[in-house]
């Protein structure tokens, strides 16, 4: 499925990351997946949470800069080589993966990853052709 990911601008300074994560914790928001891209002066915190629109509004109220981005959530067998297979399929179709990161999984046989590409529709067709399953709501928010 296509998920709304929250991206938050965070200064690369002591205590800035914990401030955001704490804000989420205090509101009882469970972080399902997370990744950070950083440079020497700033970072982009990317998180998957349930109710992303509400969480975005909440963070904005607290002065954060937040952007919602559509990303793909893919379900894979939790076995060596399965992520490679997905990425190879996309690569063969000239689809550039801008970034990818893994979910916390409660399922022993399944792994879930977020994949950010330019064109979600195209990527979904390619993945479907190769029998790659998209994660469903239950996989992600349970």
């Amino acid at each position: 499925m296509i998920l709304k990911q929250l991206s938050v601008f965070v200064e690369n300074k002591l205590g800035k990351l914990v401030d955001v994560v704490e804000a989420l914790g205090q509101e009882g928001i469970d972080i399902r997946a997370l990744s950070i891209a950083d440079t020497s002066d700033f970072g982009i915190l990317r998180v998957i949470v349930s109710g992303p629109d509400d969480v975005a509004a909440l963070l904005r109220e607290q002065g954060y800069i937040v952007r919602l981005t559509n990303v793909l959530a893919v379900s894979l067998p939790d076995a060596p080589g399965s992520l490679a297979k997905v990425l190879r399929a996309l690569s063969d179709e000239n689809i550039n993966v801008e970034y990818t990161y893994a979910f916390v999984s409660h399922n022993e046989d399944k792994a879930y990853v977020v994949i950010k590409v330019e064109n979600n529709e195209h990527a979904m067709q390619v993945l479907a052709k190769h029998g790659v399953l998209l994660a469903d709501e239950e996989d992600i928010y349970k």
Binding site: D41, F42, G63, Y99
Partner: protein, 431 residues
């Protein structure tokens, strides 16, 4: 033994100097009155050229400011037919803020002579090798000292700024004896020379450092590191360039070449002339230059004038080192920077005017940091997009100011606001 380039002028008895100044002032006011700008200005203020008969009448003339010069861009203050002008120089700044100054050959000659006086006061002779590391081009630093060095007859190395390794190589290979650059670059060169272990191969004996404010501590530090005597020099493009004033062996302030430039200190609020010894804004009047004859130009530089007997024998009035500005202009690595220029770039790049300019001096080199608050519109969830935006700001600042700034994007509302107003400029330099 003190040497002079033009002892008749540099050591003229005061009365004789006053007479020369009066005659030249009278003549240049008449000359300027032929320029529609001055005719309008004097008429509006009810001043006739014949009212100005001696230096005592100087206060009757209205002031002119940088705004006047900008409004007059490009030819509004040109005092001679274009066919008589041989050169322009220009101040650093944006297109909007640029000032273009014109020179006849005679104007260039007297400018060069002023710089020659500075070189000779620093102990220069025709046997010296003058290493000019000021920028060349529209900036007056390079061309001014270059011209002065030619007048003295020294071997001139037109190095221009930058490329420190090449500077040091020429300095050692060609045995440079007098270094001309900004004090911060001199300090940087000194560090680099020591790091390279080449201090014993340096033949420098003196340095002429200007285009930015520096402290006595910095002077002593440069002097001990480079094993030289370091002299201050002052000038501005509008008036001519470096050499409006220069330091002598006494190193207690700069003698103004007042056979060409009249100086006054005024109260910047009231415009009233202040007596010698009092601190205020320096106002300069060109009494010899023809192509760009500025009358009572407010420099915005704050200093003190003194007219005491100097041990060097010169009778020229002395100005103290610069003590600040009456506007918000910053001088960073010798470049004039107005915060409004930086703001323009920030807004043109798509950010809001929530920024902070932090100037510091680390190892005697000025640094310029610009912090800009991130906005929702400028945010992307990809690092490379944000880095591209940052780079755009850096590039545009570089092309506008000629300086490389370090740009940091910061969180919204993170810039200190005192009484609701953001603190825009933090100058940490101790000058």
């Amino acid at each position: 033994m003190e040497n002079y380039y033009q002892p008749d002028m540099e050591c003229a008895p005061y009365e004789q100097l006053r007479a020369i100044q009066g005659a030249r002032l009278k003549e240049n006011v008449r000359h300027a009155y032929d320029i529609p700008f001055y005719k309008d200005l004097l008429d509006k203020n009810g001043v006739k050229p014949e009212d100005i008969r001696s230096v005592d009448d100087l206060h009757k003339l209205p002031f002119i400011t940088k705004d006047n010069l900008r409004d007059a861009y490009p030819y509004g203050l040109l005092g001679v037919p274009l066919s008589e002008a041989v050169r322009i120089q220009s101040t650093s700044g944006t297109t909007g803020r640029r000032v273009v100054a014109f020179y006849t050959q005679a104007d260039i000659d007297l400018w060069d002579e002023c710089c020659a006086r500075a070189i000779i006061a620093a102990g220069g002779t025709k046997d010296d090798v003058v290493h000019v590391s000021y920028g060349y081009g529209l900036f007056t630093g390079g061309p001014g000292l270059n011209g002065g060095s030619h007048k003295v007859g020294s071997l001139t190395l037109p190095m221009s700024s930058g490329n420190t390794a090449r500077q040091i190589q020429f300095m050692t290979d060609l045995r440079s004896t007098i270094l001309c650059c900004t004090p911060s670059y001199a300090a940087y060169l000194a560090e680099s020379i020591h790091e390279a272990g080449l201090i014993d191969q340096i033949a420098l004996k003196a340095g002429i450092f200007g285009a930015e404010a520096w402290s006595e501590e910095m002077r002593r530090d440069i002097e001990s590191k480079l094993r030289i005597k370091a002299y201050d020099i002052y000038g501005l493009t509008e008036i001519s360039g470096p050499g409006v004033s220069f330091e002598c062996s006494e190193q207690t302030g700069m003698h103004i070449n007042e056979d060409h430039f009249l100086s006054e200190i005024i109260d910047p609020q009231t415009g009233r002339q202040l007596p010698y010894g009092e601190k205020g804004e320096l106002v300069l009047t060109c009494i010899s230059k023809k192509a760009f004859p500025l009358l009572r130009y407010r420099t915005r530089d704050i200093c003190v004038l003194t007219r005491n007997k100097c041990s060097c024998g010169r009778t020229l009035v002395k100005m103290s080192r610069l003590m600040g500005r009456t506007d918000d202009m910053l001088i960073i690595r010798g470049v004039n920077v107005f915060p409004s220029q930086i703001e323009t770039v920030i807004i043109n790049c798509g950010f809001e005017a929530n920024y902070q300019i932090i100037v510091d001096r680390v190892n005697y080199t000025d640094s310029l940091d610009v912090h800009i608050e991130m906005t929702p519109d400028m945010f992307s969830d990809e690092v490379r997009d944000i880095e591209k935006t940052e780079k755009e700001v850096v590039d545009k600042l570089r092309s506008m100011l000629g300086l490389t700034a370090k740009v940091t994007l910061v969180a919204p509302k993170s810039i200190t606001r005192s009484e609701g107003k953001a603190v825009r400029i933090i100058d940490k330099r101790k000058i």
